[in-house]
């Protein structure tokens, strides 16, 4: 049984009727519980719960302190190739977009790694577009091997692999996987993925689980907020994280909450997610999954990111460039989207300390 069966069980759930039945008393009762269930979690994503954001924040903060303390892990993404064969309506790497494409050589990966490692970061997440011809698994394994020399933790955010391929990259030094479903609604998924292998919904949905079976140490999942009503996407994200954590207790599961950002391309059919809604998602997730990591990227602007620190964030990116070779090369490939927080690692550390939290550069090592 995979998470797809859980998705199907809730696919036609009547969210509107459920939300209209939620009362203030329900929210207060849920916030008084030690452990909440999936429907309590959905209740916290309701319009009714929006009136209780402060109480939710207090509870979320308490749980975050208890499980993670006053520490925020820093990492940065590193784009090593932007060749892609998919036509995703919302992504700058879309094969139909006329952007400058680039793929780093082994030497360029090393150079980029050195530039990032010099900032003090010890966790790296490297990314490619989906192009098995340009970025085959062997290229990804080789890149992992190079990065392992400079970083203690090496994560990948690439196209979905088979279980055997995940084993291959794990053997090469990869310890964490980020794979976003983009949108859990299967109908919208079909609409926004116009062409390419990414159209295979269930192969992507089951990617984190295949990595868990291949003995990855941590997985990070999420939806690209803005492609569907946020409350539904947040609900499925939470259910998916809960499913993985229960089935693979030795894997550290975390979630990201990326909001769609300006990018090359013309996709306009966006469901807006305002600042308040993003906070509501984060608080509800923290209360439902107190032990799950939450990542906030530089898609969010700096003042907003700083305010989120005490509410449940456990991981933040810093010193980000979404361009291929963006940390060390003059000849860069074009970026995936525009970032909103341009602070370098040193400035990000200061901001975290100013909030009374400890920036952590290293929280992992290979054994």
């Amino acid at each position: 049984m995979s998470f797809y069966q859980y998705y199907l069980a809730h696919k036609d759930f009547d969210f509107n009727s459920f939300f209209s039945s939620i009362t203030t008393t329900d929210i207060e009762r849920i916030l008084a519980k030690d452990k909440i269930n999936a429907y309590d979690f959905l209740s916290l994503l309701s319009p009714q719960a929006e009136k209780h954001l402060e109480s939710m924040a207090e509870k979320a903060q308490k749980l975050s302190l208890q499980h993670f303390g006053k520490a925020i892990l820093l990492f940065t993404p590193m784009y090593i190739a932007n060749h892609c064969i998919n036509k995703c309506a919302y992504c700058g790497f879309n094969v139909g977009n006329r952007i400058k494409r680039k793929k780093l050589t082994a030497e360029e990966i090393e150079q980029e790694a050195k530039a990032i490692a010099a900032t003090g970061l010890r966790h790296i997440l490297f990314l490619t577009g989906e192009s098995p011809a340009q970025s085959p698994v062997s290229y990804i394994a080789k890149a992992a091997g190079i990065l392992k020399k400079h970083f203690h933790s090496v994560g990948i955010e690439i196209y979905p692999l088979t279980e055997q391929e995940y084993s291959q990259v794990i053997d090469a030094g990869v310890d964490s996987l980020t794979v976003y479903q983009e949108v859990y609604d299967e109908g919208i998924y079909d609409k926004v993925h116009l062409a390419g292998p990414k159209r295979n919904y269930s192969f992507r949905l089951d990617a984190p689980e295949r990595a868990c079976r291949a003995k990855i140490r941590s997985v990070n999942i999420g939806a690209l907020l803005g492609l569907n009503e946020w409350c539904k996407e947040a609900f499925f994200t939470g259910l998916h994280a809960d499913y993985l954590q229960n089935k693979y207790p030795d894997v550290a599961v975390s979630v990201s909450l990326p909001r769609i950002r300006p990018h090359a391309g013309t996709f306009q059919d966006i469901f807006p997610v305002n600042d308040k809604s993003l906070v509501q998602i984060m608080l509800a997730l923290r209360i439902f999954l107190p032990y799950t990591g939450i990542t906030i990227s530089t898609r969010e602007r700096q003042e907003y990111r700083d305010h989120l620190i005490p509410l449940g964030v456990t991981k933040m990116s810093a010193g980000v460039s979404t361009e291929v070779g963006g940390h060390s090369s003059e000849d860069k490939g074009e970026g995936q989207f525009e970032i909103a927080d341009n602070r370098n690692v040193a400035k990000m550390k200061q901001a975290i300390l100013a909030k009374g939290y400890q920036p952590v550069s290293k929280d992992w090592m290979s054994f």
Binding site: Q66, K70, Y291, V360
Partner: protein
């Protein structure tokens, strides 16, 4: 306070502290000074030897015994590798074994912990295993060479106090090596209770690190540990079901023949 001996080393403090979850590394030496601890544990996965500023070891005063823990290990093999790495990096030969393959409750795997204890004790480590309080598991850890055992009072970080009291009491009665209550102690009175029960020492991290004033809280825990230990040594009066009048009702019967 009476000294505590662990693996042949005499200690004056019965409070061990952890270094995770603090608002900054700079506060750690102040916390250590405030509570006069002599053993400080840190996750080796957090130690960045190459970095001056970010290396946690730079913030632990010389003279403290480093107790690297194997946090992140999912089985005995990984715990053993981490311990060896810690020693190779110059962190000494003390190690706290943490083998956890449950990321939700962070409960230790006693069986794998026993295996790691056996291997590392043979290699000359002073092994302090973090464990679920189970008598047979604790006995096997001692047989395997553990210098102390560290049963949890409640799951890590929960601040719930000594929820496993009855099981820990059995370990205190039956286990020859020091019993150090680790995890779950949320307030100074929990530490005092642990010491009054006869625990040899306690290890505290979350309750100190996440308090509003970690330095003051460290001092509070230190005082509580001392008070609890003194109470234990002074042998507290027995609890009875009925009140015992200071002028007993039957006292006249023993006032001599009249």
């Amino acid at each position: 306070m009476d000294p505590l001996s662990i693996g042949g080393v005499e200690l004056n403090s019965r409070l061990l502290i952890g270094t995770g979850k603090f608002p900054s590394k700079q506060i750690i030496p102040k916390v250590i000074n405030a509570c006069e601890t002599q053993i400080v544990t840190m996750a080796l996965r957090r130690v960045d030897i190459g970095a001056d500023e970010d290396n946690i070891l730079e913030y632990i005063p010389k003279g403290c015994i480093l107790l690297p823990n194997t946090s992140g290990a999912r089985d005995a093999d990984e715990a053993v590798r981490i311990a060896r790495l810690a020693r190779a990096l110059g962190a000494g030969n003390w190690v706290k074994i943490e083998v956890i393959s449950d990321n939700k409750y962070l409960l230790p795997d006693n069986q794998e912990t026993i295996k790691a204890t056996e291997i590392l004790a043979k290699e000359g480590f002073k092994v302090l295993p973090y464990m679920s309080p189970d008598l047979m598991a604790a006995k096997r850890m001692v047989e395997a060479g553990a210098a102390a055992v560290m049963p949890l009072g409640a799951p890590i970080g929960t601040n719930r106090g000594i929820k496993t009291k009855e099981l820990i009491r059995i370990l205190i009665d039956e286990i020859e090596v020091p019993v150090i209550i680790d995890a779950g102690l949320g307030k100074p009175s929990d530490a005092a209770e642990a010491m009054e029960m006869g625990a040899s020492a306690v290890l505290v991290n979350t309750a100190i690190a996440t308090s509003a004033d970690p330095v003051k809280m460290a001092q509070a825990f230190s005082l509580a540990v001392k008070a609890g230990r003194m109470g234990y040594l002074a042998k507290m009066g027995a609890k009875t079901r009925y009140a015992q009048a200071s002028s007993p009702l039957t006292g006249f019967l023993f006032e001599g023949d009249k």
